[in-house]
Subunit: 442 residues, 4 copies
């Protein structure tokens, strides 16, 4: 019955090519980093409303508020909100996303029996100052980021646009489809901060098939893009990003008895944290990456901040080192008459979904449709997606992450990163194919 459906969808996808490029360049130019994606969300929201979507969970409804991690300060959010309005954020939608609630879950219900199929798109930019040099195409063509210090250097502009285009395809072919499709536009993937809040809002609890696409880099010199499907469907270490602050009291260095030395608290804690014994619960990594503190050479230091990351090869090993770290910090502070704060700036859960048969099936499926494939590669892709994958899998759903790999001109996260825009319809087509397969229509 659905004969020719996939072909018609592909044809429609190709026809969106010019629009997709244009919208991607718009997102690229007005790059917004994690929890600041007000303009981006308002444009997506307006697009979805125009397409007729009525089941939109947005803003505060799309998050368990206190499960969001690594939020900027209220002042920062206010400042960037105003800037977003200046840069064309669409009202009244923009208001919905104010205050660090920059996510959307749009559901299309065909009204016919069938599976619930989810697609995750992350939409945030990175803290990178984009190149202004003419060798960099976005600079040359005038769409490099106008927001100094923020840049789409990881391809999430492409992810967002593919999601918008998929939303449009769904409405075009709704009558020939079955089940429900959920399109999740997620903020703050960088720093692994955004997924948890959406998962804990329950948005994915009914999903049967979850897909996550990410742009990737393939070997130099090969023009054709590839679909990369990892031998492990989804994999993430357990991860906790902590910001630690020791608060002491300044005094003249001559009279340390009148102060409380936060520097000593930091030294004691720093050595003890690195010294947490290796345990038998699983491997782990500890890194204190940044430190800053103190106001003057001859002043007892009143504050030290340390920026650190813990990773566990199992959830248990992360819990062990994180709890130990928290105990060390509290007692290192108290030992030196100081107090301490620990802020969880980001986290992932240990996730390993390893179904080689499914992977193999999907590779064969992609090849059968003429996609060039690359696999089995590692399944690591977006650590932050681990929350979503784990939830779907625990509820009995299936999960697949895949990459769309091109010969990108510069490494991911670098100042001259760019994507290969011909990939946009390719990614859209493969997402549509996956959807049809789940619906039993291919």
């Amino acid at each position: 019955m659905a004969s020719g459906l996939y072909e018609r969808i592909c044809s429609s996808a190709d026809s969106k090519s010019v629009w997709m490029r244009k919208q991607r360049q718009d997102f690229h130019k007005y790059a917004e980093s994690g929890w600041h994606e007000v303009r981006t969300c308002s444009i997506i929201a307006e697009h979805l409303v125009k397409l007729g979507y009525t089941d939109l969970v947005m803003g505060k409804d799309a998050f368990k508020a206190d499960a969001r991690m690594g939020l900027p300060s209220a002042d920062e959010l206010d400042n960037t909100y105003r800037r977003a309005l200046d840069q064309g954020a669409v009202l009244p939608y923009a208001e919905i996303f104010k205050g660090g609630f920059t996510g959307i879950c749009a559901t299309l219900d065909t009204g016919r029996p069938g599976p619930v199929i989810g697609f995750r798109q992350d939409i945030d930019a990175l803290g990178v100052l984009e190149s202004r040099e003419s060798e960099h195409r976005p600079a040359r063509e005038g769409f490099s980021s106008v927001n100094d210090g923020w840049m789409h250097a990881c391809g999430h502009d492409a992810h967002a646009v593919i999601g918008m285009a998929l939303a449009e395809l769904l409405t075009e072919f709704k009558d020939e489809l079955c089940g429900k499709v959920k399109l999740v536009f997620q903020p703050a993937e960088e720093g692994v901060r955004g997924a948890r809040g959406m998962v804990e809002a329950g948005l994915l609890d009914d999903v049967d098939h979850m897909f996550c696409l990410h742009m990737g880099a393939r070997a130099k010199g090969d023009a054709e893009s590839q679909i990369g499907i990892g031998k492990i469907n989804c994999f993430s270490l357990a991860n906790a990003k902590l910001d630690i602050c020791f608060h002491g009291d300044a005094s003249h260095a001559f009279e340390p008895e009148n102060g409380n030395n936060a520097m000593l608290a930091a030294f004691t804690a720093g050595q003890a944290i690195y010294g947490i014994p290796r345990c038998s619960l699983g491997g782990s990594t500890i890194n204190i990456g940044q430190i800053t503190g103190g106001t003057g050479r001859n002043v007892v230091c009143d504050e030290v901040k340390m920026v650190m990351e813990l990773r566990g090869w199992t959830q248990e090993s992360l819990v062990y080192i994180e709890e130990y770290t928290r105990r060390i910090v509290a007692h290192a502070a108290a030992m030196h008459g100081c107090t301490s704060d620990i802020e969880l700036k980001g986290a992932t859960v240990h996730t390993k979904i390893d179904e080689p048969a499914y992977t193999e099936e999907m590779i064969r499926f992609a090849e059968g449709l003429g996609f060039k494939t690359f696999g089995p590669s590692s399944g690591i892709m977006s650590d932050d997606f681990s929350y979503m994958a784990k939830r779907v899998y625990e509820h009995g759903g299936k999960v697949l992450t895949f990459q769309l790999l091109s010969d990108v001109p510069a490494p991911f996260h670098s100042t001259r990163f760019d994507i290969y825009e011909d990939d946009l319809p390719t990614g859209l087509k493969f997402e549509a194919a996956c959807m049809l397969r789940c619906m039993g229509l291919m």
Copy 2:
């Protein structure tokens, strides 16, 4: 013979009152911090040349170059040199002081037998952002610092002007004086960086009587200024200001074996430095006041800087803790595969010149002339002067430090600090009186 000489000098001093205020406000407005005092020096130099001084040791001649401490970078010096020219530095004198050689030693030789008498004036501003509020007189009257972040918040603008006025008095009364007078205009007193270079150039090796004036704060509510003479003529702890840098190599936090962790070197060193045992050579103080390092949360830290100060109640105890610190730093670095630098940013030598009889005589002398006195107070005044005092004393000379204390409106080193400008001629008169006494003319 010199009957009435002191009275005539005082009269001349009073007549310079308006000019001194004006010149002090000029220095205040164009505040220059340590080793940047190009404009200040050029104005002093022009003044001295106009007065007919021919024995001027200036710029590179006034310093043992590598005994200068805590120099800014060449770039910084270049930038501020250009700014000095923009702000009225006098050519060709300005060129003499380029590159961190901002000192002058002017000698007036009367041609008659007599002692060599030295006066030290420090001329540098502090790293303080001056208040712009109207309660602050310099702001209200339009002479607050135009060089953001630099401010004469310690009264060295007054010291410089009193020295210039003394130079003028000397030429006026030259024929009635005897011996030689050396006026030392010294840079970079803040951070105890400037005196050593001038001392090691030998400028003070022939001085018989050395004086050092410093502005001071007296108790609130007492309008009249005082001359404060400490019970110890001169006192300074031994002091070393060190900047320590650990250089490692970055790597991903996952692969620390590919990096060398400067953070660990800093933790090891920091704990060990604080843990240097108290020794029997004398008391000491150790303070690591500031720390900064690292580039990213999940990057093995490649560089940490620590800013610290060591003090010893004796020279021996300082040597002990400084050598121990240097050993710790080198080995803490090597232990973690890193390298290290230690830069001496400032230093003082332990100096204690304790001649209560001389102090008592000078207090009586000041009171005999009608000065209100305040003493015996502590003799600590300007730690940096310790190099000069020690050299003069070791060569058999006498040393006296004294303070000119007023009811200043805000604490020294604060953003609203100001002096009481009526003190300018008072300080000048007392310096002149000291000089006459040494010459046997009072």
Copy 3:
């Protein structure tokens, strides 16, 4: 052709049961710990000579001298040598083993073509004070250790006796066998100290099939003994046992500048060693188990000893942490004006011989002979054997470790440990069966 051979061997093995018990109780009573096994070796040597063995590599010939690890002091060895003579060590054999050369490799060459088959027996006791209570059979029956603080609490007395009995069987059935059999009696297995020296003497370089038996504990309440064959033929982590000593100089606590504080060196090193970053080369474990140092409360500590162990899940990860540890120790010492020694007291190499098919074959083989089996269990058995296994495997030989498991009355290494003496002929029979299989005679 060899029909009935195995049955006749079994019959002979059973006939040795009483003798084996008696000899085992003798070894148990005169327990000798690692490198002190002079009496034990002399009895084995006399036994082998009486049986007619002529190819005996013993004492200094059986070891690469400096590859022996964790040797006692010369004084200790002298003392225990005298004691061994008092307790019946057999002369002149005892002299061969003097000075920590307590090993024997006996070869029986059948003169017929065939494989070289090796059996390793470890012969040392542990540093445990044996129970004197009547619930403990050796105490009750009068054969508990007379050497206070040394006890056969790991069953090596049984291993030694099974080896001696196997030597006898070989001579009885020599004419029906083929190839060569090497019986290796190895000292100092406890602390993983003894194997390396024998391996590096080249004793195993020609072995085609290597077997290693160890007593084991099976579940309570099951009277019958079992042969346990692990799913991995042989497995050992890489392991380094280090004794660290910091040498400083004492002084009165008042005058630390006259001393060098070994306590501070130990604190610095201890924290830094635990703080060695987890690397990506493989998991690891670090433990500083014991510390001792100092002579008086108010004396600057002149010496600290630390006893530690490093383990790596790969050889590379052990190398990383061991090299880092050595660097830390040297620099922590130098930092505090001290010197340091590190002694390697024991080590194993990472070994993983994983041939499930061979394991499976051997389990089937044992069951076919009526042995009750237990497998696949873990292949870890005697970490020290790793050197032998690795050498044989690298030369193309096959390796198998197996356990003889009984319901022992108390845990291994505990003060009331005892074996089940009926296991002695069982172990002997299975070793013989393995040998016949390798010879193609079963």
Copy 4:
């Protein structure tokens, strides 16, 4: 009236010479260390009773029980009590001193008005193994210590005997004296443990003149003994002797998560304690002199003991570092899941009694009586006496410490230490002279 009294007392003192030697040798042979002085006390008590003393405060009455420091365990006290009985402790007196209450305060009240005069004698031996060599007179003459590991190597045997002889003189001349005399026999001076308990029992609250004699070493080659009187009457740093214990939980080194690592707690605490900042409250010394801990190389360490001493040049500086140390210990333990104990094993209070005029008077007084004097030397003598001196001084009394210096054959606290027994009557005479002077009888 009392004409000739001093001469008659001297004559009586000389007559006690033989008995004093004998009793001193008896005490020397049966040396008892701190809190174990049961035999010594029982002999002194019997002596005093026989002399007719009725005002005897002994055993539990002589101490505030919980102010005693550094007590041995109950088992140790029991063992040495039994040994004391075996070695001739006098019953029923011995029973009085059981359980670590080995002190006596005997008061002779003349019934006539006059001052209260105190003499302190310490009576304990040291933890030193006395030389058995014939060069050592006590060994040669058969009175070296029979209690292995305990030795009167600091002359307290002499102090005790001089006190006993003074008690006898007092009864002989009672009718010619006035006021009261208190003879305090104090245990556990070594380790500065014993004085506090007696002071806090109030024994010295009414003393007007307090004297403390100690044997001393004078320059080699000068046969004649001297009375040494320091320029400061009494001086002691503030001092706290702490034993610290960290209690963790053992586990296999592979599974540190099942244990709590006391070694890590010790490392963290040790570094932090040495790193306590130098404060402005006064100088200080910190020394961790001994450490011991752990049971096995591959066992997570379950207990570490550290033996340390803190000293302060002021009471305030000691309080600062002691409180900081206690805070560090508690939190270092808690940080690593451990608990901690701190035991105060000994302490002194900062005491400085500096009355040069009194010192000078007493030197003149001694010289007037024909004593050879040596002064002004330092007033440090017995840190433990500081509690007594401080109490007497605070109540308005006068305090004097003095030494009886001879050319001793070996250093104090060494295994061949001996006193010069001719000093016994010399010390007695000078104590008597001091007493008569206070009574106004000389």
